[in-house]
Symmetry: C2
Subunit: 376 residues, 2 copies
């Protein structure tokens, strides 16, 4: 897991004495020495310990270094950082919510990084402040998360108005989701008006990202033959737009055909967002063609959803359902990890597979055990 | 809810003195006088009270009247019938499992009844014994369940080898699912080698039926224009086959175009069953064309799944996941119905909507209350 790429790449803040351990994408057991960790981009002065007020003021002033340190606290698994992170989020809540939140996914090879770089640079040129975050529940430096490949997004990393942050790691889906949700809030409080949330598309990650954003964009590429390669099956129904990337050079004609194919399919599927028609578009991250167009599509979506009130209610529903979901997941984990429940479940499984017990009796039996154990 | 259509239609068993109350599709509060209810198709002799052994022997001998009464006990919400039904299922388990279980859905107007009648009659002519069941979580006679329309399936109802049963009703999805699952087992023990499980396609009913069958068939019709009307969106990915019904007369050419359209879409979607390619077919329930063909498709599917062992493992997984799901649903209901949890949730919702509390703190707060209440 030791990888020194972050020393040559440009992360916002590096804890010099802590090694790589303070980075979210490497934290597995928690950071305990974070507040005393020295570090700055200049590698000269040790970072002073910051108070809650320092964090709040620094973030509201748009201080990137302080924002980065605050995110590290939010992402930390150490219990002592949890209270601080929650106070911080509470204080910054009133200043959050003022961004366009866009989720971006696509299979490896779809060109997510080059697209995000092209879109991010375009937005920075328009005077936007762009935060690029990543969600990857299976995160590790070797699996292609943003920081993993130091050559990615070099141009965007140089923009003063761009803030790039790798995946948080840590345990349950609920854990990763909490960190990403709160990181979005911190970035918004720091003045970022556009949040691009990338996911590498492993497991449930698209659904997770979908539940945190206003607009969900699925990047695809043209297939080898007449088949629509380059899309993870089942993802198409989550999309607010499908974007055929790499529509340039010899590939341009094929990309347009692919776009038409997707449009035909989308015609028959339930759109991801009520009142919006999901369509396919094309772009080239290389030439920049289509980048402005897709941004206009997103702005158009946001405008419609703001006017009919759906944007606010969607965000509220996202928060509410997240709270319920995490609470349920917590209870489910307690049940799943209970040794007596586990034993009985194994036993019942064998009986069910052998056909020696009816399913209803097995269910009653399981419920009884669970209720007894929950009462302990 | 009072509807006398079952007096003119041909149900298997009518409790004369109990009014309509003993019918599953009307039971909401439970039947307490079932075992003493008089009734027979001849309206003459009172039905004797049956012992467990009577039920077991009667069902294994293929006695339709006893099967129908046993299903009524399985479907009853009365606590005193529950123990008997579970003993019955336990005794009959070793004799169950020997059928091809086919789920059939389609929007109203897709011609489900005429198709089931055409397929059922065809199978009876082949010497098969066919049970037709329905799953409709929102069941009531007025909503188009099998028994509701007395003119439906008249021919099939006359077949000695066909057994038709309306929807069970009763509370939770878990409740309806249990009744339908156990009704399938009883029919199999009574010698029915083909079970056709119809759903009217309300709410989650397709997913429910999907979780109980080997093969899931989605009936569609040709649209009015160039659009693929006649399919509930999101259902297409559950299908093992899509069947364009009403491919007859003036409609035939259009049906073939619709079939081709579906095939093109299916080409790009994840198939519902691994190792099987979902395709579109056409048939006419009127002329009978294509009925034999679709049955051959189903048999081919079953053969492949039997050979590679997927059929057995799928059924086992269906049972296991049902047990876990119902246990979880039970715990979730306990939590949801707890007054203190309800109050706190309402309070937290208001705070979250007002933005006065961070989601993570709300979650912790909710979890604490839930844990306290579960321990009581």
């Amino acid at each position: 897991m030791t990888d020194n790429s972050y020393n040559t790449y440009k992360p916002e803040w590096v804890p010099l004495d802590g090694g790589g351990e303070a980075f979210a994408s490497q934290i597995m057991t928690g950071v305990d020495d974070l507040d005393t960790a020295k570090g700055s981009q200049s590698k000269a002065a040790p970072a002073a310990k910051l108070s809650l007020a320092d964090y709040v003021d620094g973030i509201l002033a748009g201080n990137r270094m302080i924002l980065a340190r605050a995110i590290t606290i939010v992402e930390s698994n150490a219990p002592k950082h949890f209270a601080l992170s929650q106070e911080l989020v509470q204080r910054l809540l009133p200043y959050s919510g003022n961004s366009v939140r866009v989720g971006i996914t696509g299979v490896p090879g779809a060109g997510k990084s080059t697209f995000i770089e092209a879109l991010g640079c375009y937005l920075c040129r328009q005077g936007k402040k762009v935060a690029v975050l990543a969600v990857d529940p299976s995160s590790s430096l070797s699996k292609g998360s943003i920081l993993g490949d130091k050559t990615r997004m070099e141009n965007l990393a140089k923009e003063a108005n761009a803030f790039i942050r790798p995946s948080p790691s840590g345990g349950t889906l609920g854990g990763v989701t909490r960190k990403s949700r709160e990181t979005i809030l911190l970035c918004e409080a720091a003045g970022y008006d556009t949040v691009l949330l990338e996911t590498v598309g492993v497991g449930q990650s698209e659904t997770t990202v979908r539940s945190m954003v206003d607009f969900f964009l699925v990047l695809v590429i043209t297939g080898a033959g007449d088949d629509l390669q380059g899309i993870k099956k089942g993802i198409i129904e989550l999309a607010d737009a499908i974007l055929v990337n790499k529509a340039d050079g010899d590939n341009q004609q094929k990309a347009l055909v692919t776009k038409a194919d997707y449009n035909q399919i989308l015609h028959y599927l339930r759109p991801a967002t009520e009142g919006w028609t999901t369509k396919a578009y094309s772009c080239s991250s290389l030439t920049g063609e289509g980048i402005e167009d897709i941004w206009q599509v997103i702005l158009n979506f946001i405008e419609i959803m703001q006017e009919n009130g759906q944007l606010q209610s969607k965000r509220q529903q996202q928060t509410l359902s997240w709270v319920k979901q995490v609470a349920e997941e917590h209870i489910r984990n307690i049940i799943k990890q209970n040794p007596r429940v586990q034993d009985r479940m194994l036993q019942l499984e064998q009986q069910l597979l052998a056909g020696s017990i009816p399913a209803t009796l097995a269910t009653q039996n399981l419920i009884t055990i669970i209720e007894e154990e929950l009462k302990k």
